[in-house]
Structure formats: C-alpha cells, structure tokens
C-alpha cells in the first residue's frame, strides 16, 4: 500500500467549515423531522388504539407500507414522483417530507407501545374523576407513557439522523451532501469520508450519552414519587 493520506486539504477552513455546516443542517433536519414525527405519531397512535375502525385500518396500512419499503424509494417517490401529479417540492422540502413520513411510521409504533403499556385502570380512574377522554389521555396516560417511550425515542432520533444521510441523493442540504461536495473539490474521497465518519460517530455517541442521562434523570424522578 503506497497511498499517502492527505487530511490537510480537508481540514482547511474552507472545506472543514462546509462539513460543519453540513452537520448543523443534518441536526436541524433531524430535529425538525423528529418533532413533527412525534406530533403526528401521538395523534396517529391515539387513532390507532382508540379511533374509529376505518382510521385504525388506515394508520395500520400506512405504518406497514412505510416500514416495509426502503427509505430511498420513498424519497424518490416524493422528489421525482409527486411532481408528475402536480406536487413539486424542492430538495430540502422533499427531504423533510420524506423524513417525517418515514419517521412517523416508526414513531407511531413506539408511542402505541407506550400507550398500551399503561394499564386500562388508569383510563377508568381518570373517567371516574370526571375527565373527558381527551383530557384523561393528555393528563393521565401520556405523561406516564412518555417515561416508557423515552429510551426508544432516543434511539429513534439517532436512527433518523443516520438515515438522513440518504437524502443526499436528491442533494438536500446535509452532511453527506456536503461531503460529496468537498470530495469532488479536493479529489480526496477516502479522507473526506473518514472525517465525516468520525463526525457522525462522535455526534451519535454524544446523543446516546445525553439520552442515557435524561433517561436516568427521568427514572430517578419517577422513583422519588
């Protein structure tokens, strides 16, 4: 092996800054899609567990379709397919829509498992003290379910962030696209991808540690009660 590694070029501010910007875009995209997915998932899981029959079936079908097809195909459908039926999105818009659509399906299952882990007696008790169904869901079931959901939601966020690299195929702004830009300018693909690899790894480890801390803190609180 007589290859000479040249990391210097990529660590130059002009290139490295682009990678850091890429990481920030990745984080923003992931955070936005996580928040939106969670919002949709709470409504979705509510309908899935206690909505009308047709809504249960519809959401069930949605979850199955999303979870049994590749994310890459989903983003192609949204970015290339939708314009042909008159719905045009730019790369970043398509990326966000695809990630929310995909993330919601997985998050619905997490939220549903969380809700189902709360015993039915809680709902009955809430009803007995005169809360309306939505109130008892919001004030009694959801806060308790949140504790169960915390750890899987944390892993879901990391998965979402790693998966967001795939939206680079439609050249939405994020780290992987930035990496492709830098490597085509420096002609140093391997070095660029190694550095990006390290960036992704460090960020996902940091999030994992952060979620573990939040989890511990939340459970400590729960035990005090």
């Amino acid at each position: 092996m007589n290859y000479i590694f040249q990391f210097g070029e990529i660590l130059k501010p002009v290139n490295f800054d682009e990678l850091l910007w890429g990481m920030l875009s990745t984080l923003r995209l992931s955070a936005e899609s996580m928040v939106l997915s969670l919002a949709f998932a709470i409504v979705g899981a509510m309908l899935r567990t206690s909505g009308p029959k047709w809504a249960q079936a519809l959401i069930g079908a949605y979850v199955e379709i999303i979870r049994n097809t590749p994310f890459l195909v989903q983003i192609f459908m949204i970015f290339f397919g939708l314009p042909t039926i008159g719905l045009r999105l730019d790369a970043n818009g398509a990326a966000l829509v695809a990630m929310v659509l995909n993330g919601s399906a997985y998050t619905i299952e997490i939220v549903r498992a969380g809700i189902e882990s709360i015993s039915a007696g809680q709902m009955d008790a809430a009803k007995a003290i005169g809360l309306r169904p939505l109130q008892s869901f919001r004030l009694v079931v959801l806060p308790q379910a949140l504790k169960v959901m915390l750890a899987p939601l944390g892993s879901q966020f990391i998965l979402l962030m790693l998966n967001s690299s795939i939206v680079s195929v439609v050249s939405a702004d994020e780290l992987m696209a930035a990496a492709q830009d830098v490597q085509s300018r420096t002609f140093r693909p391997f070095e660029t991808y190694i550095i990006v690899f390290v960036i992704y790894f460090v960020v996902s480890m940091l999030f994992q540690a952060a979620f573990a801390l939040i989890d511990r803190w939340a459970f400590a609180k729960a035990e005090q009660r």
């Binding site: 049994n68 590749p70 290339f80 039926i85």
Partner: protein, 217 residues
C-alpha cells in the same frame, strides 16, 4: 424519451434477483461476522468483549451509506478495485454483522447460565458447550428478531444503487431516465419491496407471539 412497455416492467421484475442475491449474500456474510461478534461479546475475558462492543458501536453509530462509500473507496486505496457489487456485499455484511451480533448476544445471554455451568461441569470445553448446549437453545430465541432484521437488510440493499450496482432501485432509475414515468416506476419498485418484506415482517411477528406464549406457560 420513449414509452413504457411491458418488457420494461419485466426488466424491473428481473432486477429483483439482484436485490435478493445481494440480501442473501449479505445475510450470509453478516451471519458469519455476527456470530463471531456475538461470541466475543459474551466472552469471559475483557479484550474480545470490548472489541466487540467497539465494533457494534461504530457500525450502529454511523450511516450505512457512508460505510458503503468507505468500503468502495477504501478498496481502491489498497489497490483492490472492488467495484459496486463487491463493495456493496462487503459493506452490507460488515454492517449486518454488527446488528446480528447484538441480536444474537441477547439470545445467547437469554439461555440460562445454569446450562453453561452444567455443561462445563460435565467436562465439556468452550467449543462443545457453545456448539451443543448454548447455541441450539439460543437459536430459538434468535429466530424472530433475526427474521425481523432481514426486512431491514433487504431494504438496506437499496443503497447499493447509489454505488451504481444495478439492483431493483437502480433498475428503476435507469428505466425512469429512459421513459420518465417516475410515479409509476417507483411505486412499482415500492410494491416489489413490499411483497418481499411484508411476509418477513408477518413471520417475525408470528414467531415472536409464539415465543411469548411459550414463555407464559
């Protein structure tokens, strides 16, 4: 631009075999790596255990697409031009090894400790204990999550298209470039994936339910 014909759809359906072949080979490769990782992860001494943990962390903490790129460009670096097909297979195997290793570690640890101790006290060494006592029992626990992981693996093979390997998604892209019917083509591609993955999902769920029932007794 030309119109979409029946033979185009046929082209798409035939591209499935590459998706299936890639999935199967990546599963085989990932299975070998996964078994090694699982055994290292459950070993008694610290070094193999930490190495296995590091391996799992690295592959689960970075995007698969990036891992594939690194294998693809890394091959060139050491003078091996792997090409899309081999890079995809190798990259997917390495990645699957981490996930299968973690799943199978759980299964191995799910076999009660007494089993291993009993085997040892009968005078069986590490190899026979694992091979004849622990692994057969772990297999039962491992089947459902392993089948569930296969769904992920089949979906992951789609990323090989980005390296330029002509499997289902890449075939769809090529067809789309010629005919420009993205909605029809990519929904057909999605349907094909669904037809492959959904039975696996259902099987995994059924196996899981059966296992849960066995434990309730």
């Amino acid at each position: 631009m030309r119109t979409l014909t029946f033979s185009d759809i046929e082209f798409l359906v035939f591209a499935v075999r590459w998706t299936l072949l890639l999935s199967a080979l990546a599963f085989a490769g990932g299975g070998i790596i996964g078994l090694i990782i699982a055994l290292m992860r459950t070993a008694r001494s610290l070094l193999p255990r930490y190495l296995a943990i590091a391996y799992i962390r690295v592959f689960q903490g970075t995007p698969l697409l990036l891992q594939l790129f690194l294998v693809f460009f890394g091959g060139d670096l050491i003078g091996l031009s792997l090409g899309p097909w081999l890079s995809a297979m190798l990259g997917l195997s390495l990645n699957a090894g981490a996930f299968l290793g973690e799943i199978w570690r759980g299964a191995i640890q799910g076999v009660s400790r007494g089993q291993r101790e009993a085997a040892r006290s009968l005078g069986l060494g590490y190899g026979p204990t694992m091979l004849f006592i622990v692994l057969p029992q772990a297999l039962r626990l491992a089947v459902a999550p392993t089948v569930g992981f296969m769904v992920n693996l089949v979906k992951s093979t789609a990323l090989a298209s980005i390296l330029g390997f002509v499997e289902l998604v890449r075939a769809g892209q090529l067809l789309n470039n010629a005919t420009f019917r993205p909605f029809l083509i990519f929904s057909t591609v999605a349907v094909i994936y669904f037809v492959i993955c959904w039975p696996l999902t259902m099987a995994s769920r059924r196996l899981e339910a059966r296992l849960a029932q066995a434990y309730r007794r």
